[in-house]
């Protein structure tokens, strides 16, 4: 085989590969993800591949003995490997003493307050941009603040994108709490579409005033603000100095997991964040994968867009990509490469489980509650199940359509629905125009909406004739929340995917004499804060139960007074349920938490359970077991070196 020569390109962002034309070498280089031919008029003939260690290793394994390395590439490789080894070593540390952090000099009380694992995370995060994927309730917000000080970036400015419910209660609270004693207490500016125009203008003015005065400032906003990209500080041209740090909280709920390396082909949010100039980037989520490893790519692309350039390229490197004749689908990790995959992720990821860092916190106990539907409810469920099946069959629905049908069915598995609420949506076929698409300028009415541009749909409204309610009441009574005997201070939280079910259960429990509050997507930030406060404070008149929609209750709220968690219906993503249960199961209170999941027998809910068990197994297999193996290997290695 001919010899090949690989060297860094002049701008230092790609590897150039040269060789005499050789079919074998061409076949080899085509196996390297991201390989592109560059013709003579653009500097070739040569091939280029993206510059990162994974690709460099792949290049080496494909071309192996044929490869001659240029001096700059050799030097880069040495440094990149050293950096990776350093990050691997840091990633495997489980505890750090306060005095070993720069943070200890800057905010001693924060360094002292943190647990050992948090300080270890701060040490790692102070070195590099990364994803903090620690389980819920392990104090990730404080770690971000600590890491920014550890990285000497505290002068700011800092951009934080977070769910609107956590702007004030989590971010403002934590930043002000830890920086108020500094010579220059950090300014926190919160910003969301819910604010009035004047309030938003004032916030922007205040931000620029801080920049002009060189005052440390945190701009904490919702994903929408970044997605719109209207503010000048989102634009590298208008804001050339950029942000010192850029953090996206609960990033799995933004468009980031569905990012694409190419503008306009992924989500608007992912396109917008790529443009935001920032020296250090952090992504936060307790549930980074949702059972699909490809969802990690969006986070990695956010951290290092110049390194993780192509989603498909990354997928082909690590994941199984199947072509079914109509297109490609991305599946799990390539067989036998799980350890290697985790090792490659380690320099970009912090991940700890509560069971590892807080062994004194009893693990959640899971109890499945199989419920019998009432006869009326069962009859209605069976009717709608048959109708859904016919709908799927007749209209040959795609995956989204099938999912929508199944999701609608879940309401009937929750309760008998005594009426249907009519609502209208824009016609999907004519996009609301009322004109038949593809008919030119003729005035044919859209066949789907008959010219109205709108489609009428019906939402089932559940009554309290539900097979699940007696089971729920029984479990609440067992836990000490018995309407006939309301002594004690036991508390619980209840979740449903559906707002209508939340409304029904909220009314039902209050009617039965159990003081109950509810939180849905319609609840304002102030109201959430009030509910959290009164629930956590307890005492006379305090609510004993909070009923929430799974997603609205899954973030930015601590309800650890609850000892039992009741999930009335599961979403298709097991992480949603975990996040919800973690409102009660947190480092802030050491207590036993029992999670009850209610499923109606013989319904779609049992199928969802099977799907979710598979997804949860993937999450555990890829992230957690591998990480534990990686840590053990690194520690063994370190012990070997030390010895």
């Amino acid at each position: 085989m001919n010899k090949a020569f690989a060297e860094l390109n002049p701008s230092g962002d790609k590897i150039e590969v040269y060789f005499r034309y050789d079919p074998d070498l061409v076949a080899c280089i085509k196996e390297v993800p991201g390989a592109r031919f560059v013709n003579a008029s653009s500097g070739g003939p040569m091939w280029t591949v993206p510059l990162n260690l994974d690709i460099a290793r792949r290049l080496n394994s494909e071309l192996g003995p044929s490869l001659v390395l240029g001096k700059a590439l050799r030097q880069w490789g040495k440094e990149a490997r050293k950096r990776e080894a350093n990050l691997h070593a840091l990633a495997s540390i489980d505890s750090v003493e306060p005095k070993d952090l720069k943070l200890h000099v800057k905010i001693p009380e924060l360094a002292e307050w943190m647990r050992g694992y948090q300080r270890a995370d701060v040490k790692f995060m102070g070195t590099t941009s990364c994803l903090n994927c620690n389980e819920q309730g392990l104090g990730k917000t404080a770690e971000i603040i600590g890491a920014i000080f550890e990285a000497d970036l505290e002068q700011g400015p800092h951009l934080v994108v977070a769910p609107k419910t956590s702007l004030e209660t989590v971010w403002r609270y934590e930043i002000e709490r830890w920086t108020e004693k500094l010579e220059k207490p950090h300014e926190v500016i919160t910003y969301s579409g819910e604010m009035s125009k004047t309030a938003r203008e004032n916030a922007i003015e205040e931000f620029w005033a801080c920049i002009d005065d060189d005052w440390p400032v945190w701009f904490v906003c919702t994903p929408q603000t970044v997605r719109d990209g209207k503010e000048p500080f989102m634009d590298p041209k208008e804001f050339p100095d950029g942000w010192a740090s850029f953090t996206i909280d609960e990033y799995h709920k933004t468009g980031l997991p569905n990012a694409s390396g190419k503008k306009g082909t992924g989500t608007k949010f992912a396109d917008a964040v790529r443009e935001v100039p920032a020296r250090r980037r952090y992504g936060i989520t307790g549930t980074p994968m949702g059972g699909k490893p490809i969802k990690l790519w969006g986070g990695l692309h956010f951290l290092y867009p110049e390194q993780f350039t192509s989603k498909w390229q990354w997928a082909k490197t690590w994941l199984i990509v199947n072509n079914n004749g109509y297109g490609s689908t991305i599946e799990g990790i390539q067989y036998g490469r799980e350890d290697e995959f985790y090792k490659a992720l380690a320099p970009y990821l912090v991940r700890r489980l509560k069971s590892e860092v807080l062994p004194q916190l009893p693990p959640k106990q899971y109890v499945d509650v199989l419920c019998e539907m009432t006869p009326k409810q069962k009859k209605q469920y069976d009717t709608f199940a048959a109708r859904a099946e016919a709908e799927i069959e007749d209209k040959q629905l795609n995956a989204i359509g099938i999912l929508a049908e199944y999701t609608r069915l879940k309401v009937f598995a929750d309760a008998y629905c005594d009426h249907m609420q009519e609502y209208q949506v824009k016609c999907e076929l004519c996009d609301g125009s009322g004109k038949q698409p593809g008919m030119g300028d003729t005035e044919f009415d859209c066949a789907f909406c008959t010219g109205t541009g709108k489609i009428t749909k019906y939402k089932p409204i559940p009554s309290n004739e539900s097979g699940k309610l007696p089971y729920l009441m029984e479990r609440l009574a067992e836990a000490g929340i018995d309407p006939d005997d309301m002594v004690g201070d036991a508390c619980a939280i209840v979740a449903s995917q559906f707002k209508e079910v939340v409304n029904m259960v909220h009314a039902y429990l209050n009617h039965k004499g159990i003081p109950t509050e509810k939180i849905t997507g319609d609840t304002t930030g102030e109201e959430r804060a009030r509910i959290q406060r009164v629930f956590q404070a307890g005492g006379e008149g305090a609510p004993r139960v909070v009923v929430m929609t799974t997603t609205a209750g899954g973030v930015a709220i601590t309800l650890d007074r609850a000892d039992t968690v009741h999930i009335l219906d599961e979403t298709w993503v097991p992480d949603d349920q975990e996040q919800f249960a973690d409102r009660a199961h947190r480092a802030s209170r050491m207590h036993q938490v029992t999670v009850y999941t209610y499923r109606s027998a013989g319904t779609v809910e049992q199928y969802i359970q099977d799907v979710n068990v598979d997804k949860a197994a993937i999450n555990r297999q890829i992230l957690d077991l591998r990480r534990q193996g990686f840590r053990a290997d690194m520690q063994k290695e370190a012990a070997g070196v030390g010895g």
Binding site: R20, Y21, D22, P23, V26, S42, P45, V68
Partner: protein, 165 residues
């Protein structure tokens, strides 16, 4: 493996004979090395009158594939026995566009006879490229060979200056 010489290759996939009437061939045609990523393999169907494929002694024979001219639109223009039907069925193997471009450029830059333009830059490019490729072979054996590194740097600097924006 070096670049295979461009020579038209054939592989008969199937033959069907209707006695005294027609002979049908399904045939793959390509140039050079079939396994080369730059090589495209195309499958054709050709139908001959049976009488055109019989020699003076009355013996049947295959078409003379050497008369097939890949360079001409009318592929069988110089054949004695022309098919009555010649149609492309499918592309059995697509050529990789990068490989095709590389082969073409490599051939023109390393072939002393090939025309790459008469400008100083074009000729210099050709000269430096050949020296650069030779230097890679030297460095594979002797990584500290200063002369070879000079040739590598000369070519890369020339390219960098040429494409500097």
């Amino acid at each position: 493996m070096s670049v295979a010489e461009s020579k038209t290759q054939f592989e008969i996939i199937d033959t069907n004979i209707v006695p005294d009437l027609y002979v049908t061939f399904i045939i793959d045609i390509w140039e050079g090395d079939r396994n080369d990523p730059a090589t495209e393999v195309i499958r054709y169907i050709g139908v001959w009158r049976a009488e055109d494929l019989v020699n003076g002694d009355g013996e049947a024979h295959d078409p003379d594939w050497s008369e097939y001219d890949i360079a001409r639109y009318s592929r069988w223009h110089r054949a004695k026995a022309k098919p009555i039907c010649w149609e492309q069925l499918e592309t059995v193997k697509e050529a990789d566009s990068g490989a095709v471009m590389m082969r073409r450029e490599y051939e023109s830059l390393t072939d002393p006879e090939a025309y790459v333009g008469y400008s100083h830059n074009s000729l210099k490019h050709k000269e430096l490229y050949v020296k650069f490729l030779d230097a890679i072979d030297v460095l594979a054996e002797d990584p500290d060979n200063e002369r070879a590194w000079e040739d590598v740097n000369a070519f890369r600097q020339f390219q960098a200056l040429k494409h500097e924006k």
